[in-house]
Protein backbone atom coordinates (compact mmCIF):
# COMPACT_ATOMS: atom_id res chain seq x y z
CA UNK A 1 0.00 0.00 0.00
CA UNK A 2 2.83 2.37 0.72
CA UNK A 3 3.72 2.77 -2.96
CA UNK A 4 0.32 4.28 -3.78
CA UNK A 5 0.35 7.63 -5.59
CA UNK A 6 -2.38 8.96 -3.33
CA UNK A 7 -3.23 7.51 0.06
CA UNK A 8 -6.02 8.74 2.32
CA UNK A 9 -6.35 7.23 5.79
CA UNK A 10 -9.14 7.73 8.28
CA UNK A 11 -10.42 11.01 6.87
CA UNK A 12 -13.04 12.60 9.09
CA UNK A 13 -14.71 15.90 8.15
CA UNK A 14 -17.57 17.66 9.90
CA UNK A 15 -19.16 21.07 9.52
CA UNK A 16 -20.76 22.48 12.67
CA UNK A 17 -21.28 19.00 14.07
CA UNK A 18 -22.72 17.62 10.86
CA UNK A 19 -20.58 14.72 9.68
CA UNK A 20 -19.66 14.91 6.00
CA UNK A 21 -16.95 12.29 5.77
CA UNK A 22 -16.46 9.49 8.24
CA UNK A 23 -13.24 7.49 8.56
CA UNK A 24 -12.64 7.40 4.82
CA UNK A 25 -9.77 5.26 3.52
CA UNK A 26 -8.99 5.68 -0.13
CA UNK A 27 -6.11 5.30 -2.53
CA UNK A 28 -5.05 5.80 -6.12
CA UNK A 29 -2.30 3.55 -7.47
CA UNK A 30 0.40 5.09 -9.70
CA UNK A 31 -0.78 5.63 -13.28
CA UNK A 32 -4.25 4.40 -12.42
CA UNK A 33 -7.62 5.66 -13.59
CA UNK A 34 -9.94 5.61 -10.61
CA UNK A 35 -13.54 6.76 -10.30
CA UNK A 36 -15.25 7.99 -7.19
CA UNK A 37 -18.99 7.50 -7.40
CA UNK A 38 -21.94 7.75 -5.09
CA UNK A 39 -25.40 9.28 -4.83
CA UNK A 40 -25.83 13.05 -4.68
CA UNK A 41 -24.72 14.44 -1.36
CA UNK A 42 -22.53 11.44 -0.58
CA UNK A 43 -19.52 13.68 0.04
CA UNK A 44 -17.60 13.20 -3.22
CA UNK A 45 -16.89 16.86 -3.82
CA UNK A 46 -16.06 17.34 -0.14
CA UNK A 47 -13.47 14.60 -0.48
CA UNK A 48 -12.03 16.39 -3.54
CA UNK A 49 -11.89 19.58 -1.51
CA UNK A 50 -10.00 17.78 1.25
CA UNK A 51 -7.49 16.36 -1.22
CA UNK A 52 -6.87 19.78 -2.83
CA UNK A 53 -6.47 21.48 0.55
CA UNK A 54 -9.64 23.60 0.48
CA UNK A 55 -11.14 21.75 3.40
CA UNK A 56 -8.98 20.70 6.29
CA UNK A 57 -10.27 17.37 7.60
CA UNK A 58 -10.42 17.11 11.40
CA UNK A 59 -9.05 13.57 11.29
CA UNK A 60 -6.86 11.47 9.06
CA UNK A 61 -3.96 11.82 6.68
CA UNK A 62 -3.55 12.53 2.97
CA UNK A 63 -0.26 11.48 1.40
CA UNK A 64 0.81 12.08 -2.20
CA UNK A 65 3.85 10.17 -3.36
CA UNK A 66 5.22 9.95 0.19
CA UNK A 67 4.55 13.60 1.09
CA UNK A 68 1.86 14.71 3.55
CA UNK A 69 -0.75 17.01 1.98
CA UNK A 70 -3.27 17.47 4.78
CA UNK A 71 -1.54 20.45 6.41
CA UNK A 72 -0.72 22.30 3.18
CA UNK A 73 -2.50 25.32 1.73
CA UNK A 74 -4.25 24.75 -1.62
CA UNK A 75 -1.56 26.43 -3.72
CA UNK A 76 1.11 24.30 -2.04
CA UNK A 77 -0.93 21.16 -2.72
CA UNK A 78 -1.01 22.09 -6.41
CA UNK A 79 2.72 22.73 -6.34
CA UNK A 80 3.18 19.29 -4.81
CA UNK A 81 1.43 17.73 -7.80
CA UNK A 82 -2.37 17.62 -7.53
CA UNK A 83 -4.49 19.46 -10.09
CA UNK A 84 -8.22 19.52 -10.57
CA UNK A 85 -10.94 20.69 -12.92
CA UNK A 86 -14.42 21.80 -11.96
CA UNK A 87 -17.88 20.49 -12.59
CA UNK A 88 -18.88 24.05 -13.52
CA UNK A 89 -16.39 25.61 -15.86
CA UNK A 90 -14.20 28.09 -14.07
CA UNK A 91 -11.95 29.51 -16.74
CA UNK A 92 -10.38 32.94 -16.33
CA UNK A 93 -12.66 35.11 -18.43
CA UNK A 94 -11.19 38.11 -20.22
CA UNK A 95 -7.99 36.12 -20.69
CA UNK A 96 -7.03 34.32 -23.87
CA UNK A 97 -6.95 30.56 -24.22
CA UNK A 98 -3.14 30.60 -24.12
CA UNK A 99 -3.03 32.92 -21.09
CA UNK A 100 -5.39 30.63 -19.21
CA UNK A 101 -3.00 27.74 -19.64
CA UNK A 102 0.05 29.89 -18.91
CA UNK A 103 -1.49 30.99 -15.62
CA UNK A 104 -1.57 27.34 -14.61
CA UNK A 105 2.21 27.24 -14.67
CA UNK A 106 2.76 29.82 -11.98
CA UNK A 107 3.98 27.32 -9.42
CA UNK A 108 6.52 25.92 -11.89
CA UNK A 109 8.29 29.22 -12.54
CA UNK A 110 11.50 30.32 -10.90
CA UNK A 111 11.66 34.03 -11.69
CA UNK A 112 10.50 36.05 -8.72
CA UNK A 113 8.24 39.08 -8.69
CA UNK A 114 11.21 41.43 -8.78
CA UNK A 115 12.56 39.81 -11.93
CA UNK A 116 9.12 40.17 -13.46
CA UNK A 117 8.84 43.86 -12.53
CA UNK A 118 12.30 44.62 -13.91
CA UNK A 119 11.84 42.43 -16.99
CA UNK A 120 15.13 40.63 -16.48
CA UNK A 121 16.48 38.54 -19.39
CA UNK A 122 16.11 35.34 -17.37
CA UNK A 123 12.47 36.23 -16.85
CA UNK A 124 11.98 36.74 -20.59
CA UNK A 125 13.62 33.42 -21.41
CA UNK A 126 11.37 31.74 -18.91
CA UNK A 127 8.35 33.48 -20.41
CA UNK A 128 9.14 31.84 -23.76
CA UNK A 129 9.58 28.49 -22.05
CA UNK A 130 6.18 28.87 -20.36
CA UNK A 131 4.49 29.76 -23.63
CA UNK A 132 6.05 26.74 -25.33
CA UNK A 133 4.92 24.42 -22.56
CA UNK A 134 1.41 25.92 -22.61
CA UNK A 135 1.21 25.36 -26.36
CA UNK A 136 2.26 21.76 -25.82
CA UNK A 137 -0.58 21.28 -23.31
CA UNK A 138 -3.09 22.83 -25.72
CA UNK A 139 -1.98 20.56 -28.55
CA UNK A 140 -2.15 17.59 -26.20
CA UNK A 141 -5.84 18.15 -25.49
CA UNK A 142 -6.50 18.85 -29.17
CA UNK A 143 -7.14 22.60 -29.21
CA UNK A 144 -5.74 23.88 -32.49
CA UNK A 145 -3.62 26.98 -32.86
CA UNK A 146 -6.38 29.08 -34.42
CA UNK A 147 -8.12 29.16 -31.03
CA UNK A 148 -5.20 30.17 -28.83
CA UNK A 149 -5.65 33.94 -28.96
CA UNK A 150 -9.42 33.83 -28.49
CA UNK A 151 -11.03 34.95 -25.26
CA UNK A 152 -11.40 31.68 -23.33
CA UNK A 153 -15.10 32.06 -22.64
CA UNK A 154 -15.93 32.45 -26.34
CA UNK A 155 -14.94 28.85 -27.08
CA UNK A 156 -17.52 26.16 -27.69
CA UNK A 157 -18.52 24.33 -24.53
CA UNK A 158 -16.65 21.14 -25.39
CA UNK A 159 -13.53 23.16 -26.14
CA UNK A 160 -13.81 25.01 -22.83
CA UNK A 161 -13.84 21.64 -21.07
CA UNK A 162 -10.66 20.64 -22.90
CA UNK A 163 -9.10 23.98 -22.04
CA UNK A 164 -9.76 23.36 -18.36
CA UNK A 165 -7.94 20.06 -18.64
CA UNK A 166 -5.04 21.72 -20.50
CA UNK A 167 -4.78 24.35 -17.77
CA UNK A 168 -4.74 21.67 -15.08
CA UNK A 169 -2.06 19.73 -16.99
CA UNK A 170 0.07 22.89 -17.17
CA UNK A 171 0.59 22.70 -13.41
CA UNK A 172 2.54 19.45 -14.12
CA UNK A 173 0.48 17.28 -11.79
CA UNK A 174 1.24 13.74 -10.67
CA UNK A 175 -2.47 13.27 -10.04
CA UNK A 176 -5.33 14.89 -11.94
CA UNK A 177 -8.76 15.24 -10.34
CA UNK A 178 -11.64 15.60 -12.77
CA UNK A 179 -15.00 16.69 -11.34
CA UNK A 180 -17.73 15.48 -13.70
CA UNK A 181 -15.69 15.97 -16.86
CA UNK A 182 -18.45 14.56 -19.07
CA UNK A 183 -21.19 16.88 -17.81
CA UNK A 184 -22.90 18.51 -20.77
CA UNK A 185 -20.95 16.61 -23.43
CA UNK A 186 -22.64 14.74 -26.27
CA UNK A 187 -21.94 11.08 -27.04
CA UNK A 188 -19.14 11.79 -29.52
CA UNK A 189 -17.45 14.25 -27.17
CA UNK A 190 -17.65 11.68 -24.38
CA UNK A 191 -15.76 9.15 -26.50
CA UNK A 192 -13.11 11.81 -27.23
CA UNK A 193 -12.90 12.49 -23.49
CA UNK A 194 -12.28 8.79 -22.78
CA UNK A 195 -9.46 8.78 -25.32
CA UNK A 196 -8.00 11.94 -23.79
CA UNK A 197 -8.12 10.59 -20.24
CA UNK A 198 -6.34 7.42 -21.35
CA UNK A 199 -3.67 9.47 -23.11
CA UNK A 200 -3.18 11.58 -19.98
CA UNK A 201 -2.40 8.38 -18.12
CA UNK A 202 -0.46 6.55 -20.85
CA UNK A 203 1.52 9.37 -22.46
CA UNK A 204 1.93 11.82 -19.59
CA UNK A 205 2.07 9.17 -16.85
CA UNK A 206 -0.44 11.03 -14.69
CA UNK A 207 -2.83 9.26 -12.35
CA UNK A 208 -6.48 10.26 -12.90
CA UNK A 209 -9.24 10.38 -10.30
CA UNK A 210 -12.70 11.29 -11.47
CA UNK A 211 -16.09 12.01 -10.03
CA UNK A 212 -18.67 11.19 -12.67
CA UNK A 213 -22.40 10.60 -12.78
CA UNK A 214 -22.31 9.10 -16.26
CA UNK A 215 -22.08 5.47 -15.18
CA UNK A 216 -21.54 4.23 -18.73
CA UNK A 217 -18.40 6.33 -18.97
CA UNK A 218 -17.28 5.29 -15.50
CA UNK A 219 -17.61 1.59 -16.33
CA UNK A 220 -15.80 2.03 -19.61
CA UNK A 221 -12.78 3.90 -18.33
CA UNK A 222 -12.18 3.02 -14.69
CA UNK A 223 -9.68 0.47 -13.49
CA UNK A 224 -10.85 0.81 -9.92
CA UNK A 225 -14.03 2.32 -8.51
CA UNK A 226 -14.67 3.60 -5.01
CA UNK A 227 -18.21 4.17 -3.80
CA UNK A 228 -19.08 6.79 -1.24
CA UNK A 229 -22.47 6.92 0.46
CA UNK A 230 -23.46 9.29 3.27
CA UNK A 231 -19.82 10.12 3.90
CA UNK A 232 -18.79 6.48 4.28
CA UNK A 233 -16.70 4.51 1.78
CA UNK A 234 -18.95 1.51 1.22
CA UNK A 235 -17.04 -0.31 -1.52
CA UNK A 236 -13.82 -0.38 -3.48
CA UNK A 237 -12.94 -2.67 -6.32
CA UNK A 238 -12.81 -3.40 -10.01
CA UNK A 239 -15.73 -2.56 -12.29
CA UNK A 240 -17.08 -6.11 -12.12
CA UNK A 241 -16.80 -6.22 -8.33
CA UNK A 242 -18.63 -2.92 -7.93
CA UNK A 243 -21.38 -3.89 -10.35
CA UNK A 244 -22.18 -6.96 -8.30
CA UNK A 245 -21.73 -5.42 -4.84
CA UNK A 246 -25.06 -5.57 -2.94
CA UNK A 247 -24.29 -2.50 -0.81
CA UNK A 248 -23.67 -0.43 -3.91
CA UNK A 249 -26.89 -1.58 -5.53
CA UNK A 250 -28.76 -0.78 -2.36
CA UNK A 251 -27.23 2.69 -2.11
CA UNK A 252 -28.22 3.51 -5.66
CA UNK A 253 -31.65 1.91 -5.66
CA UNK A 254 -32.43 3.64 -2.39
CA UNK A 255 -32.16 6.90 -4.23
CA UNK A 256 -35.34 8.10 -5.84
CA UNK A 257 -34.22 10.82 -8.22
CA UNK A 258 -33.55 10.44 -11.93
CA UNK A 259 -29.91 9.64 -11.51
CA UNK A 260 -30.60 6.30 -9.88
CA UNK A 261 -30.44 4.39 -13.14
CA UNK A 262 -27.26 2.60 -12.24
CA UNK A 263 -26.40 0.63 -15.32
CA UNK A 264 -25.65 -2.86 -14.01
Amino acid sequence: MSENLLQLRGIGLAFAGHTVLQNVDFHVAPKAIVSLIGPNGAGKTSLFNCITGFYRPQRGSIVLDGAAMHALKPHAVTAAGIARTFQNLRLFREMTVLENVMSGMHCRTRSGAIGAILGLPSQRAEEREIAARAEECLRFVGLEEALWQRDATTLAYGHQRRLEIARALATRPKLLLLDEPAAGLNAGEKQDLIVLIRRIRDEAGIGVLLIEHDTGLVMQISERISVLDHGVMIAEGSVAEIQSNPRVIEAYLGQDDGEADFDL
Binding site: K73, F92, G119, E127
Partner: protein, 304 residues
Protein backbone atom coordinates in the same frame (compact mmCIF):
# COMPACT_ATOMS: atom_id res chain seq x y z
CA UNK B 1 -5.15 84.44 -27.44
CA UNK B 2 -6.89 82.65 -30.19
CA UNK B 3 -9.14 79.73 -29.46
CA UNK B 4 -6.77 77.19 -31.00
CA UNK B 5 -3.91 78.33 -28.75
CA UNK B 6 -6.11 78.04 -25.68
CA UNK B 7 -7.13 74.57 -26.78
CA UNK B 8 -3.50 73.54 -27.31
CA UNK B 9 -2.46 74.86 -23.90
CA UNK B 10 -5.32 73.19 -22.14
CA UNK B 11 -4.50 69.98 -23.97
CA UNK B 12 -1.00 70.04 -22.49
CA UNK B 13 -2.25 71.00 -19.04
CA UNK B 14 -4.85 68.28 -19.25
CA UNK B 15 -2.26 65.68 -20.22
CA UNK B 16 -0.07 66.61 -17.23
CA UNK B 17 -2.98 66.53 -14.82
CA UNK B 18 -4.33 63.40 -16.47
CA UNK B 19 -0.95 61.65 -16.06
CA UNK B 20 -1.11 62.18 -12.29
CA UNK B 21 -4.72 61.01 -12.14
CA UNK B 22 -3.98 57.98 -14.30
CA UNK B 23 -1.01 56.85 -12.21
CA UNK B 24 -2.99 57.10 -8.98
CA UNK B 25 -6.11 55.60 -10.56
CA UNK B 26 -4.12 52.55 -11.70
CA UNK B 27 -3.31 51.58 -8.14
CA UNK B 28 -6.90 52.18 -7.12
CA UNK B 29 -8.21 49.93 -9.84
CA UNK B 30 -5.57 47.17 -9.40
CA UNK B 31 -6.19 46.92 -5.68
CA UNK B 32 -9.93 46.93 -6.27
CA UNK B 33 -9.35 44.15 -8.80
CA UNK B 34 -7.62 41.72 -6.47
CA UNK B 35 -9.43 42.28 -3.17
CA UNK B 36 -12.51 44.32 -4.17
CA UNK B 37 -11.48 47.07 -1.77
CA UNK B 38 -11.82 50.79 -2.48
CA UNK B 39 -8.54 51.72 -0.87
CA UNK B 40 -9.36 55.18 0.45
CA UNK B 41 -5.81 55.45 1.77
CA UNK B 42 -4.46 55.37 -1.76
CA UNK B 43 -4.42 59.16 -2.21
CA UNK B 44 -2.52 59.46 1.06
CA UNK B 45 0.10 57.05 -0.20
CA UNK B 46 0.53 59.45 -3.13
CA UNK B 47 1.11 62.18 -0.54
CA UNK B 48 3.57 60.04 1.43
CA UNK B 49 5.25 59.21 -1.89
CA UNK B 50 5.77 62.94 -2.47
CA UNK B 51 7.38 63.39 0.95
CA UNK B 52 9.57 60.30 0.63
CA UNK B 53 10.65 61.45 -2.82
CA UNK B 54 11.46 64.86 -1.35
CA UNK B 55 13.53 63.31 1.48
CA UNK B 56 15.30 61.01 -0.97
CA UNK B 57 16.13 63.93 -3.22
CA UNK B 58 17.46 65.94 -0.26
CA UNK B 59 19.70 63.02 0.62
CA UNK B 60 21.08 62.43 -2.87
CA UNK B 61 20.97 65.87 -4.50
CA UNK B 62 24.51 66.63 -3.28
CA UNK B 63 25.75 63.84 -5.52
CA UNK B 64 23.33 63.73 -8.43
CA UNK B 65 21.89 67.24 -8.33
CA UNK B 66 18.19 68.03 -8.29
CA UNK B 67 17.44 68.19 -11.98
CA UNK B 68 15.34 65.53 -13.67
CA UNK B 69 18.11 62.94 -13.17
CA UNK B 70 18.05 63.40 -9.41
CA UNK B 71 14.28 63.56 -9.31
CA UNK B 72 14.07 60.39 -11.35
CA UNK B 73 16.35 58.58 -8.90
CA UNK B 74 14.43 60.00 -5.94
CA UNK B 75 11.23 58.83 -7.59
CA UNK B 76 12.57 55.28 -7.90
CA UNK B 77 13.61 55.27 -4.24
CA UNK B 78 10.21 56.61 -3.25
CA UNK B 79 8.49 53.94 -5.36
CA UNK B 80 10.44 51.17 -3.63
CA UNK B 81 10.03 52.61 -0.12
CA UNK B 82 6.36 53.51 -0.39
CA UNK B 83 5.67 50.31 -2.32
CA UNK B 84 6.94 48.39 0.70
CA UNK B 85 4.79 50.59 2.96
CA UNK B 86 1.79 49.64 0.82
CA UNK B 87 2.57 45.94 1.30
CA UNK B 88 3.00 46.49 5.03
CA UNK B 89 -0.36 48.27 5.27
CA UNK B 90 -2.02 45.43 3.40
CA UNK B 91 -0.49 42.79 5.70
CA UNK B 92 -1.29 44.64 8.93
CA UNK B 93 -4.56 46.40 8.21
CA UNK B 94 -6.33 44.67 5.31
CA UNK B 95 -5.19 41.07 5.32
CA UNK B 96 -6.91 40.15 8.62
CA UNK B 97 -10.12 41.74 7.26
CA UNK B 98 -10.29 39.94 3.92
CA UNK B 99 -13.03 37.58 5.03
CA UNK B 100 -14.85 40.12 7.17
CA UNK B 101 -17.90 41.95 5.78
CA UNK B 102 -17.05 44.44 3.01
CA UNK B 103 -17.92 47.45 5.16
CA UNK B 104 -15.32 46.56 7.82
CA UNK B 105 -12.42 46.66 5.41
CA UNK B 106 -13.71 49.89 3.87
CA UNK B 107 -13.73 51.52 7.30
CA UNK B 108 -10.24 50.14 7.90
CA UNK B 109 -9.11 51.89 4.72
CA UNK B 110 -10.55 55.18 5.99
CA UNK B 111 -8.67 54.64 9.24
CA UNK B 112 -5.41 54.00 7.39
CA UNK B 113 -6.01 57.22 5.46
CA UNK B 114 -6.43 59.17 8.71
CA UNK B 115 -3.34 57.57 10.25
CA UNK B 116 -1.18 58.50 7.27
CA UNK B 117 -2.51 62.06 7.09
CA UNK B 118 -2.10 62.68 10.79
CA UNK B 119 1.34 61.09 10.94
CA UNK B 120 2.54 63.50 8.26
CA UNK B 121 0.64 66.36 9.92
CA UNK B 122 2.48 65.63 13.17
CA UNK B 123 5.83 65.43 11.41
CA UNK B 124 5.42 68.60 9.34
CA UNK B 125 3.31 70.68 11.70
CA UNK B 126 0.78 71.11 8.93
CA UNK B 127 3.07 73.49 7.05
CA UNK B 128 3.60 73.43 3.32
CA UNK B 129 6.99 71.91 2.52
CA UNK B 130 8.80 73.56 -0.36
CA UNK B 131 10.09 71.02 -2.87
CA UNK B 132 13.22 72.68 -4.23
CA UNK B 133 14.46 71.49 -7.57
CA UNK B 134 16.78 72.73 -10.27
CA UNK B 135 14.21 72.31 -12.97
CA UNK B 136 14.55 75.00 -15.58
CA UNK B 137 11.79 76.92 -17.23
CA UNK B 138 12.88 75.98 -20.74
CA UNK B 139 10.67 74.50 -23.33
CA UNK B 140 9.83 74.56 -26.97
CA UNK B 141 7.73 77.02 -28.87
CA UNK B 142 5.49 75.58 -31.50
CA UNK B 143 4.36 78.83 -32.99
CA UNK B 144 2.37 80.57 -30.28
CA UNK B 145 2.18 77.39 -28.21
CA UNK B 146 4.72 76.84 -25.44
CA UNK B 147 5.37 73.42 -23.97
CA UNK B 148 7.87 73.22 -21.11
CA UNK B 149 10.46 70.48 -20.96
CA UNK B 150 9.16 69.64 -17.52
CA UNK B 151 5.72 68.93 -18.88
CA UNK B 152 7.18 66.75 -21.60
CA UNK B 153 9.41 64.75 -19.21
CA UNK B 154 6.54 64.31 -16.82
CA UNK B 155 4.09 63.02 -19.41
CA UNK B 156 6.77 60.80 -20.96
CA UNK B 157 7.70 59.32 -17.57
CA UNK B 158 4.07 58.61 -16.76
CA UNK B 159 3.60 57.05 -20.19
CA UNK B 160 6.76 54.95 -19.69
CA UNK B 161 5.49 53.68 -16.34
CA UNK B 162 2.15 52.77 -17.90
CA UNK B 163 3.79 50.91 -20.78
CA UNK B 164 5.94 49.03 -18.25
CA UNK B 165 2.83 48.16 -16.25
CA UNK B 166 1.02 46.97 -19.36
CA UNK B 167 4.00 44.74 -20.18
CA UNK B 168 4.12 43.43 -16.62
CA UNK B 169 0.43 42.61 -16.62
CA UNK B 170 0.26 40.91 -20.02
CA UNK B 171 3.71 39.36 -20.49
CA UNK B 172 4.85 38.05 -17.13
CA UNK B 173 3.69 35.23 -14.91
CA UNK B 174 3.11 37.60 -11.99
CA UNK B 175 1.07 39.98 -14.10
CA UNK B 176 -1.04 37.14 -15.44
CA UNK B 177 -1.45 35.79 -11.93
CA UNK B 178 -2.60 39.25 -10.83
CA UNK B 179 -5.31 39.28 -13.48
CA UNK B 180 -6.26 35.73 -12.59
CA UNK B 181 -6.52 36.63 -8.88
CA UNK B 182 -8.84 39.49 -9.84
CA UNK B 183 -11.13 36.92 -11.46
CA UNK B 184 -11.23 33.92 -9.13
CA UNK B 185 -9.25 33.44 -5.90
CA UNK B 186 -10.10 29.78 -5.37
CA UNK B 187 -9.33 28.80 -8.94
CA UNK B 188 -5.96 30.52 -8.61
CA UNK B 189 -5.15 28.46 -5.54
CA UNK B 190 -5.91 25.34 -7.55
CA UNK B 191 -3.54 26.58 -10.24
CA UNK B 192 -0.83 26.73 -7.59
CA UNK B 193 -0.92 30.52 -7.37
CA UNK B 194 -0.16 31.87 -3.90
CA UNK B 195 -3.03 34.35 -3.77
CA UNK B 196 -1.83 36.30 -0.75
CA UNK B 197 1.63 36.73 -2.32
CA UNK B 198 0.01 38.09 -5.49
CA UNK B 199 -2.10 40.50 -3.42
CA UNK B 200 1.18 41.69 -1.88
CA UNK B 201 2.76 42.20 -5.32
CA UNK B 202 -0.32 44.12 -6.44
CA UNK B 203 -0.13 46.46 -3.45
CA UNK B 204 3.56 47.01 -4.13
CA UNK B 205 3.06 47.88 -7.79
CA UNK B 206 -0.09 49.96 -7.23
CA UNK B 207 1.38 51.93 -4.36
CA UNK B 208 4.68 52.45 -6.18
CA UNK B 209 2.79 54.08 -9.07
CA UNK B 210 1.08 56.46 -6.64
CA UNK B 211 4.47 57.27 -5.09
CA UNK B 212 5.89 58.02 -8.54
CA UNK B 213 3.01 60.42 -9.18
CA UNK B 214 3.48 62.01 -5.74
CA UNK B 215 7.17 62.64 -6.29
CA UNK B 216 6.63 64.07 -9.76
CA UNK B 217 3.73 66.24 -8.62
CA UNK B 218 5.79 67.57 -5.71
CA UNK B 219 8.66 68.44 -8.02
CA UNK B 220 6.38 69.92 -10.66
CA UNK B 221 4.22 72.09 -8.40
CA UNK B 222 7.09 72.77 -5.97
CA UNK B 223 5.31 72.07 -2.71
CA UNK B 224 4.00 69.29 -0.49
CA UNK B 225 1.25 69.24 2.10
CA UNK B 226 -0.13 66.53 4.38
CA UNK B 227 -3.62 66.92 2.93
CA UNK B 228 -2.61 66.91 -0.75
CA UNK B 229 -3.60 63.26 -1.19
CA UNK B 230 -7.22 63.67 -0.21
CA UNK B 231 -8.55 65.37 -3.31
CA UNK B 232 -6.40 63.45 -5.79
CA UNK B 233 -7.53 60.24 -4.11
CA UNK B 234 -11.13 61.18 -4.84
CA UNK B 235 -10.22 62.29 -8.37
CA UNK B 236 -8.35 59.06 -9.03
CA UNK B 237 -11.33 57.13 -7.75
CA UNK B 238 -13.47 59.14 -10.17
CA UNK B 239 -11.04 58.38 -12.99
CA UNK B 240 -11.08 54.67 -12.16
CA UNK B 241 -14.89 54.63 -12.18
CA UNK B 242 -15.06 56.56 -15.47
CA UNK B 243 -12.74 54.01 -17.06
CA UNK B 244 -14.44 51.06 -15.42
CA UNK B 245 -13.16 50.05 -12.01
CA UNK B 246 -11.00 46.94 -12.12
CA UNK B 247 -9.87 47.68 -15.68
CA UNK B 248 -6.23 48.74 -16.09
CA UNK B 249 -6.59 50.37 -19.54
CA UNK B 250 -9.76 51.93 -18.14
CA UNK B 251 -7.85 53.64 -15.33
CA UNK B 252 -5.35 55.09 -17.81
CA UNK B 253 -8.13 56.31 -20.08
CA UNK B 254 -10.25 57.59 -17.19
CA UNK B 255 -7.31 59.55 -15.77
CA UNK B 256 -6.55 61.22 -19.06
CA UNK B 257 -10.19 62.00 -19.76
CA UNK B 258 -10.67 63.50 -16.31
CA UNK B 259 -7.48 65.59 -16.62
CA UNK B 260 -8.55 66.92 -20.00
CA UNK B 261 -12.14 67.58 -18.91
CA UNK B 262 -10.93 69.53 -15.91
CA UNK B 263 -8.54 71.71 -17.85
CA UNK B 264 -11.03 72.42 -20.58
CA UNK B 265 -13.82 72.85 -18.06
CA UNK B 266 -12.05 75.82 -16.53
CA UNK B 267 -12.14 77.55 -19.92
CA UNK B 268 -15.89 77.44 -20.31
CA UNK B 269 -17.20 80.98 -19.80
CA UNK B 270 -18.78 81.31 -16.38
CA UNK B 271 -16.93 78.30 -15.00
CA UNK B 272 -13.71 79.40 -13.38
CA UNK B 273 -10.98 77.16 -12.02
CA UNK B 274 -12.73 77.27 -8.66
CA UNK B 275 -15.37 75.06 -10.24
CA UNK B 276 -13.09 72.38 -11.63
CA UNK B 277 -13.75 69.93 -8.79
CA UNK B 278 -17.47 70.38 -9.25
CA UNK B 279 -16.88 69.57 -12.87
CA UNK B 280 -14.96 66.38 -12.08
CA UNK B 281 -17.55 65.02 -9.68
CA UNK B 282 -20.41 66.00 -11.96
CA UNK B 283 -18.76 63.76 -14.56
CA UNK B 284 -18.57 60.97 -11.97
CA UNK B 285 -22.29 61.25 -11.31
CA UNK B 286 -23.04 61.33 -15.03
CA UNK B 287 -21.00 58.18 -15.65
CA UNK B 288 -22.65 56.40 -12.74
CA UNK B 289 -26.06 57.27 -14.13
CA UNK B 290 -25.40 56.60 -17.82
CA UNK B 291 -22.85 53.76 -17.78
CA UNK B 292 -22.32 52.43 -14.25
CA UNK B 293 -19.71 49.91 -15.44
CA UNK B 294 -17.51 52.71 -16.84
CA UNK B 295 -16.15 53.11 -20.33
CA UNK B 296 -14.07 49.91 -20.45
CA UNK B 297 -15.62 48.01 -17.55
CA UNK B 298 -17.50 44.82 -18.07
CA UNK B 299 -20.57 43.98 -16.12
CA UNK B 300 -20.24 41.16 -13.65
CA UNK B 301 -22.11 38.17 -14.89
CA UNK B 302 -22.47 34.74 -13.49
CA UNK B 303 -21.92 31.99 -15.99
CA UNK B 304 -22.82 28.43 -15.33
Amino acid sequence: MSLSVIIAHQLVNGLVLGSFYALVALGYTMIFGVIKLLNFAHGDLYMVGGFVGFLALSAISGVVGSGWGGIFLAMLLSMIGVGCLGVLIERIAYHPMLHAPRLSILITALAVSLVLQNAVLALTGGQYTAFHTDLGFGGIHLGPIFISYNQMVLVATAAGLMVALEFFVTHTQYGRAMRAVAIDHDMCRLMGIDVSAIIGVTFFVGTALAAAAGTMAGAYYGSLWYFMGFLIGLKAFTAAVIGGIGSIPGAMLGGLILGLLESFGTQIPGIGSAWKDVFAFAVLILVLVLKPTGLLGKSEQERM
